[in-house]
Structure formats: C-alpha cells, structure tokens
Symmetry: C2
Subunit: 198 residues, 2 copies
C-alpha cells in the first residue's frame, strides 16, 4: 500500500484506494487513527448534534460505513426525522481530515442487525442490556452492566446498526509546503476529483 | 488542579472547573488533547457539515470559545443562515467526550477580529492572503502563501473570529466499571448537573 497523504503522489483512483484501505484497517484495529469518527446529525430544534462512534464496517463497493447504537438513543430519533449525516475523521499525526456527507439507514430487528450482533463482542453487547435508555435522567451513575454470556441475546432488542451511504468524500491534507484539499466524486464511474483551495 | 475524569470525584462546580481549566490550557498548547475540536453547522440542503478547527480562546465567565476562519469559507455562510453549532471534543487517552450546543457569532472587520489578528502568528496569517476562497475549485494544488511580515495586514480582510456561546455542556467519561455521563447546566446559578444514562 502506498501510504502517503501527499496528494501530489495520487490520482483519484489511488487516493480512493488509500482511503478505502485505511477505513478497512480502521474497522479491525482500535489503534488505527480512523477507528473512531465523529457523526453529526440534525436535531429538530437546536441545530446539529455530534458524538464519537466506533467504525464497525466499511464496504468499498457499496460506499458505506456503519456504526452501532442503541435504538433508544437520541441519534436514532434524529435520523428518523433527517437521514442526512456528516462523518468526520481527523488524524492529528498525519494531519489528514476526511469528511463525508452521507445518508443514514437504521437497521433494527432485521438480518443486518442480527448479523452484526452475533459478530460483536460480549463486552460490547453488555451496554445494550442497560435498563435506562441512553441520555435518560438517572439518580446515580450506573455501574457497568454484567457482561452477558455468548448466547445471551437480551440486548439485541436495543441493538441497531446505522449504515451510512455516500457518493463523495473530501480529503484535506495539511503540509507546510501548501495544504491540499480534494473532493473525490466516486460516482458516476470513472471516479474523478475536484481540487479545492484549502 | 484535581485532574480526574472519574465523575464520582466531582460535583457540578468542580467538574466545570476541571472542564474550564482544560479548555483554557488547550488554547495555549497544541499538544493538549482539546486543542482541536470538531464543529458542526447546518448546510441549507444536505444536513450537517463538520470540520476540525483550532481552539483559539475560552472565556469561563462569558461561557464562550472561539476559533478563526476565512470569511469566504462555507461555514461562514452556513452560520449566517443558522447560528446553531455543535462543538465536540474527544480525548482518546482519557476516554472523555465533551459536547456543547452553542450559538455562533461571526466577528469580521470589527475590534474583536482586529485584536485576534494582531495576537495571531504570522504563519497563521499567511492562509488569509490566499487568492482563492477556501473550498473553491482550483486547477492545481496551491503552494503555501509566503509568510507575511509582522506589519503585513493584507489577510485581515478575510480573517474572522467565530465566538460560540453556550449555557450547558455534556461530559461522557468511559470507564470499565461503568460509563459516566452528565449534563452540566451552567445557568441559572447555582450551576447544577443532571446525571444521564450513558
């Protein structure tokens, strides 16, 4: 893999390849700088909302990423009202920002959710057995729910997969010799890019 | 400073004090985990947009933070249409997330902008002398603009300070023994907090 964020070294296809390899690697490693991302959604009243989520999957051909959430969380009702989301990664060591405008689909009580559930770790599943909905008022700090057994599917009822589909992404690479910014347009094929002033 | 993100060790006032000390320190040090934040604003058509910015100031009494931007950038026109912004920090080492819903005011060609300009570094000022507006299409990757002299104010015409005012913030602290989440309500005094399910 030609691991450089000097965009002078790239064309549209090789830059997308590099983004794709990084996103794929980030799903597998908690130490990858793109393992966590910030997702922004619209609230009904007070503008956007943001939170850190874990990148759970990336599908290069489908141009999707996914993350997991509790169906009772505020972001799910926000996505029901407005499916437009912004996905944002920043790697401070490489000084690279990825930005994606995507459309979100919430999978709950379906095959996609069941598959992701059965691939997830039991420690991750524990969160979904919590009695209180995320963001609801509580009297004391909750203790961690006990880690369920492998075959314990009690949390599945609250488990959702949010799949975000996109057709373009923006890369900003900071360099002392001049910042580089491009918008990659993945469809229609052949993909192309637009150079932008940083 | 009692530097702990175990919220069991805090009450509302001491937690706000800790947030305030961290935000103040983050304005002064590029190595502070809160030196960079993600700002989300609304676009007119396609939901929220996000970008990384540098935390330039924090005012505890006024409950404001600020960042700098180019008056020609997309976020400025987005803020003109909708002043609601989301501010987001995540420190992966401490496993702490701060979230703030704020109202943004853009300062351009006024005293606040001039003050911030004269306190900024000449290397930072160089960006604002670029001929092309940020995000505009270009034919080649631009090279870095030459670093202006101290008394060169050519960039000032494009320089803006975005001041974000807030009255509450949310802290999420991840712990193996149970995640902790609170909403700090800074006004009216005395400040209080609401414990939330994580």
């Amino acid at each position: 893999m030609s691991e450089t964020w000097d965009l002078h070294q790239h064309g549209p296809a090789s830059l997308w390849q590099q983004c794709a390899e990084n996103l794929a690697a980030a799903t597998a490693s908690a130490r990858h700088p793109f393992h966590l991302l910030t997702v922004a959604s619209n609230t009904s009243t007070a503008g956007p909302d943001q939170r850190t989520v874990v990148l759970r999957s990336f599908n290069e051909a489908a141009r999707t990423i996914s993350f997991h959430t509790d169906i009772r969380s505020a972001k799910v009702s926000q996505l029901a009202a407005c499916r437009h989301v912004s996905l944002h990664w920043y790697d401070p060591a490489a000084r690279v920002q990825l930005r994606i405008a995507a459309t979100a689909a919430v999978h709950h009580s379906d095959q996609r959710a069941a598959q992701a559930w059965h691939r997830s770790r039991t420690t991750s599943r524990a969160c979904y057995t919590a009695a209180n909905a995320p963001g609801s008022a509580v009297e004391v700090f909750p203790t961690a729910p006990p880690i369920p057994l492998d075959e314990d599917d009690r949390g599945l009822i609250h488990f959702a997969v949010v799949v975000c589909q996109f057709s373009a992404l923006e890369v900003l690479s900071l360099h002392a010799a001049g910042h580089q910014r491009v918008r990659l347009l993945l469809v229609p094929e052949p993909m192309r890019w637009q150079l932008l002033a940083p």
